[in-house]
């Protein structure tokens, strides 16, 4: 018994009789007929609205569901409003309960306050400005909470979850190594290639080595690593904390007298702070290697020459500028990821929104921080 074979289309047939008009309904008055059902429902009104008395005969209705019952009732109501007297005839007992359940009632949509467009625009603007300020305030207060809990952990080291920290370092640091190495080798190579081609015009292609060394060690290594980690680990942290929030796991921790910052966030943020400098170092090496290979290939600078040129071009502080920035980037990524995770509301959509916002905000903040550091290092001449 397939649906297609079973289906009898709902139909309205009009017959004029002595006492008025008779509409015979037949077929399956169910949602299976979808559009046809709705059209036939409308036809009841069209066929009968010019008459005084109408009898609706349900004897040939083979099936009826709530949608069918609703449409019949709605038609009856509409006809009654046009002063047409309607009588239902030959209603089977099981249909009459259904018709009773689905009796007509007006569903008024809830009134929406109408706003002036200019007013709405201004209020939106104000709201987002206040939101941004509040967000900043929340960030600062979260940083404070995190610091306080770090101080507490420092004075009570036995409370610290080292196992969790090691697990996070593995997750954030160790498992990111392949992708970090890959993208940095490529970017190092690309910078080298462009450097050689452009500097060749001035006959200064050996300066490529200083270009690679300084650019990679001061900026690119740490920046690429931070952006990669913001996308890879920041999003994971937000999603983890967000789903824990949705399933009330965070509340469970709170009522046990445990602080989510201490239990969940401290290991993750510390894991980031420890991993990021190490990853930055690995990224630096990978990018220099990529640059060296391309310089050799395109510029004919042998690895030995590359090494000696590099030694002249950079000093320890060049390398340190990059590494010093790494833990700060890690802190920013970790705090934004945790904060956004905890701000998740009940729906799956909200979780998705928080993860996106966490990644976008972290990457933005990483670049802003890098700019601030650049200004700072320039002004102290480091």
């Amino acid at each position: 018994m397939t649906v297609a074979a079973m289906q009898r289309l709902p139909t309205v047939t009009r017959q004029a009789s002595a006492e008025g008009v008779r509409l015979s309904l037949s077929g399956d008055w169910t949602l299976v007929a979808s559009q046809r059902l709705e059209n036939e429902g409308r036809r009841i009104i069209d066929e009968a609205r010019r008459d005084r008395m109408v009898a609706i005969d349900l004897s040939a209705v083979s099936q009826l569901d709530t949608a069918g019952a609703w449409l019949i009732n709605r038609a009856r109501h509409d006809l009654a409003r046009r002063d047409v007297a309607v009588a239902l005839e030959h209603v089977r007992p099981e249909y009459s309960t259904l018709l009773e359940e689905a009796h007509y009632r007006a569903f008024e949509p809830p009134a929406r306050p109408r706003l002036n467009l200019v007013f709405a625009l201004l209020s939106d603007l104000g709201e987002s400005a206040v939101d941004a300020l509040r967000e900043f305030y929340r960030g600062v207060s979260f940083l404070g909470e995190f610091m306080a809990s770090m101080i507490y952990v420092a004075t009570h080291p036995q409370r610290f979850r080292f196992t969790s920290l090691v697990a996070q370092i593995e997750l954030i640091g160790f498992r990111s190594v392949p992708i970090i190495v890959l993208i940095n080798v490529l970017v190092g190579g690309i910078v080298a290639q462009q450097g050689i081609f452009q500097l060749l015009k001035f006959g200064a292609s050996s300066y490529t080595v200083s270009l690679i060394g300084i650019l990679v060690l001061r900026e690119l290594g740490v920046l690429l690593t931070s952006i990669m980690i913001a996308g890879r680990s920041g999003s994971a942290i937000t999603a983890e904390l967000g789903s824990m929030k949705m399933r009330e796991e965070i509340d469970a921790l709170l009522v046990m007298g445990l602080s989510p910052i201490e239990v969940l966030i401290a290991p993750r943020v510390l894991g980031l702070i420890i991993s990021l400098p190490i990853l930055t170092f690995i990224a630096d090496m990978a990018a220099l290697f990529g640059g060296m290979v391309v310089s050799w290939w395109y510029g004919g600078i042998s690895p030995v020459a590359f090494a000696s040129l590099l030694k002249d071009a950079i000093a320890l502080h060049t390398f340190m500028v990059g590494i010093i920035k790494a833990p700060f980037m890690a802190l920013v990524i970790g705090l934004i990821a945790s904060m956004d995770g905890l701000a998740t509301k009940g729906s799956a959509e909200s979780l998705g929104r928080q993860v996106t916002s966490s990644v976008v905000k972290s990457i933005f903040m990483v670049i802003v921080m890098d700019g601030l550091f650049a200004i700072f290092f320039a002004s102290i001449d480091y």
Binding site: E38, G346, A348
Partner: protein, 285 residues
């Protein structure tokens, strides 16, 4: 106490010629090296409310999911509406799936949609209806399950547990299915809401002519709305039939279930009051 519960459709005793709507034969389901269903047989008849009981972890939900096709089976046959579920092509499968409604244990409402949009989802996807009719039908379904129109524009995360169950039931009923699966519909509800919900299922079953497959732990539901009860233990249905048959059974698990501390108290109370309609004690304001 006879088997004729308040909502039984016609004769409560399953007649052999009654229309079988779900038939499960020699079903084997397992995960890894663990076999959960070991040759399970079960029949559900058209128009009845079948209560399905079993200990926690015995696989009641697994059976429901196996019937719905969410869990792969290792053997046996499942026939629904007389069609072998495994032999159906994708189009027939879809047609079949539009003839049943499922109430998941935790509601499984789409969290990104409002209650109204949740109910309209199956209509929107499978039927061509005007927005007006869909709105009206959604509100009608909401009213049928006892939710006010103020719940319509709320998101699932803003609803209480009982409201989630009702909204999920409204969504399960959106296409007026012939068969409804309810997975622990009254768990997590207070006794008053649970009794209301039972009554609601009974009323809907009667008005819409539904067949209801209900997994439940709620002894009250078994007493008040189920035409037949099937019990699952050791990977098979150990007994099925009207409640008295199960109450009279001397299977150790059934005895423990119905005549243990909680079950015993309830069945004793029911038998004492078997002639009078049970009413809640009048409350003083």
């Amino acid at each position: 106490m006879t088997s004729t519960s308040t909502y039984a459709n016609g004769a409560a005793q399953p007649r052999p010629n009654r229309d079988v709507i779900i038939s499960v034969r020699d079903l084997v389901v397992g995960f890894g090296d663990k076999t959960i269903m070991k040759g399970l047989n079960l029949d559900v008849y058209r128009g009845e409310v079948l209560g399905f009981v079993g200990g926690s972890g015995q696989g009641k939900s697994v059976l429901t999911r196996a019937i719905l096709g969410l869990v792969p089976t290792r053997g046996g046959a499942i026939r629904i509406f007389g069609q072998d579920r495994d032999a159906l092509g994708p189009i027939e499968r879809r047609a079949l799936e539009q003839r049943w409604g499922v109430l998941f244990q935790n509601g499984a409402l789409f969290s990104g949609l409002t209650v109204k949009q949740n109910i309209q989802m199956p209509m929107r996807e499978t039927r061509e209806l005007s927005q007006r009719l869909m709105d009206e039908l959604a509100m009608l379904k909401l009213e049928l399950v006892g939710l006010g129109s103020d719940a319509a524009d709320k998101f699932p995360s803003e609803l209480s547990g009982g409201m989630v169950k009702r909204a999920a039931l409204a969504r399960a009923l959106a296409l007026d299915p012939e068969l409804v699966f309810l997975d622990e519909p009254t768990s997590g509800l207070d006794p008053i809401s649970a009794a209301d919900f039972d009554e609601l299922i009974g009323t809907l079953q009667q008005t819409l002519g539904l067949t209801v497959f209900m997994v439940t732990h709620d002894l009250d539901s078994l007493y008040s709305i189920c035409d037949r009860v099937a019990a699952l233990a050791e990977g098979r249905v150990i007994a099925s039939g009207p409640l008295e048959t199960l109450l009279a059974s001397d299977h150790p698990w059934l005895k423990a279930y119905f005549h243990g501390v909680r079950g015993g108290r309830l069945s004793a109370a029911r038998i004492e009051h078997k002639d009078e309609e049970w009413k809640p004690a009048p409350t003083t304001p």
